[in-house]
Subunit: 203 residues, 2 copies
C-alpha cells in the first residue's frame, strides 16, 4: 500500500534551514548546503537513500520551498531546479495565490493548491496511484502534516552540527510516539534515521 | 587525556525532560521514564553505553537535577538516588545557595558550587584526576557548558518519540560544528549517537 513519506535533512538541534530564505540563500542565512553536503559530496555512499527520496509518485511542498518570492506570483519563476527538476512527477505547491500549472521537462508539473494540506494530499494521492506521496518540505509544511497525523514514514538525515537558529522541524507538532524502522546508517557527514508513527495511541 | 563528556537521553525533537519538574514528576509532566525506558527495560543490550555514563571520575549537575526544591535548601533532601547514589564519585551541584557537602554511601559526595560553571568544572577536573568529567544535566546546565565550548564529547540517546514541549537541549547554544564519533547503534527503544566538537573553526 502506498504511504506518505517525508525526508528531511536537519541539524542535530532540529533545524532544516536558516532564517531569511532568499534568492541568494535558498536554505536561509548561514546554512549554505551544509545540511546537504552528504548528498553532494558522497552521492554514491548514499545512493539507496537518495533513490528513495526521489522515488515518490507525487510530491507536496510549501510555497517557500518553490520560490523565494512572496505575495503575488512572479510568473517567470518556475522553481529552483532549472528546466528539468529532479522530481519527474507531479508536485503540489501549497499557496494562498492561485496559479496555472507549470509543466517542465522530464515529467515534473507544478500544481498550485490553494485549499489546504488535505486537498493537496488527496490530489497527490490520486496522481501517485500505487506509488508513495512525499512531503518535500519545508519545515512549516512538514510540521502541518505531522501535526495532522498524515505522515507515515519520517526519514531524518542528521548532519553533524548545531545550527542554533533557523526553521525548526517539529515546532507545534506535539506529542507523537514513533517506531524505529530499520537501523541507523550513514557516514561522517550524516546519520540516516527512519521512523514511523507508532501503532498504539500516544500516551 | 581526560575529557568532558555529556550523556543526554532526548526525544527526536530535542527535549530531555517535560515542564514543571516536581517530586511526583522528576522528569517533568507527561514524560515519566519514557526517555530512559531503554535503560530500565534493556540494561543488558546497552551495558557498554550505561557503563560509560557512570565511568566518569566526577560529575556536574544543575540544582534542578539534584532536587525538585527551589529557593533555600531543605537540608533533609540528599538527592533522588537514595542512600547509595549511582555516581560513586564527587558530584558538583550548581546552585545559588551555599550548603555543606553531603557525603553518602559508595563514594558519592555532593558538593555545592555557588561561583559558576567554570569553577565547578575546575573543581571536578581536580577531583577526577585522570578520569573524565561528566556533565550530568539537566538541559539548562548542559546548554551552558555547550555554549561555553566546554564539552568535548556529546553522547545522545535518542528515544523514538516527539514530546512537543519540555526542557529543550541546545537552546541558546548557537552554531557548533560537530564530528561524528563511531557509528550509530541502538535498539528499537533508542539510538545512540556520539559527537565531538569539530577541530576546525565553525563556518
Amino acid at each position: 500500500m502506498s504511504k506518505v513519506t517525508c525526508d528531511m535533512a536537519m541539524s542535530v538541534d532540529g533545524f532544516v534551514a536558516g532564517l531569511n530564505q532568499s534568492y541568494d540563500n535558498p536554505f536561509g542565512e548561514g546554512v549554505g548546503d551544509d545540511l546537504h553536503r552528504w548528498m553532494f559530496d558522497e552521492p554514491e555512499a548514499h545512493a539507496a537513500v537518495i533513490e528513495k527520496i526521489t522515488a515518490a509518485g507525487a510530491f507536496i511542498m510549501g510555497r517557500n520551498m518553490f520560490t523565494p518570492g512572496r505575495g503575488a506570483w512572479d510568473l517567470g519563476w518556475t522553481g529552483w531546479w532549472g528546466e528539468e527538476p529532479p522530481y519527474h512527477a507531479p508536485v503540489f505547491v501549497l499557496t494562498h495565490h492561485e496559479r496555472e500549472p507549470v509543466k517542465l521537462a522530464g515529467g515534473t508539473t507544478f500544481h498550485f493548491v490553494t485549499d489546504g494540506i488535505e486537498s493537496a494530499l488527496a490530489q497527490a494521492r490520486a496522481a501517485a496511484g500505487d506509488a508513495d506521496v512525499a512531503i518535500a518540505g519545508g519545515a512549516h509544511t512538514v510540521n502541518q502534516y505531522l501535526a495532522a497525523g498524515l505522515i507515515d514514514e519520517l526519514r531524518l538525515h542528521v548532519a553533524p552540527m548545531l545550527l542554533g537558529r533557523g526553521e525548526r522541524l517539529f515546532e507545534g507538532v506535539g506529542r507523537v510516539d514513533l517506531e524505529r524502522v530499520g537501523v541507523a546508517s550513514g557516514t561522517d557527514l550524516v546519520t540516516h534515521l527512519t521512523y514511523r508513527r507508532a501503532r498504539q495511541a500516544g500516551r
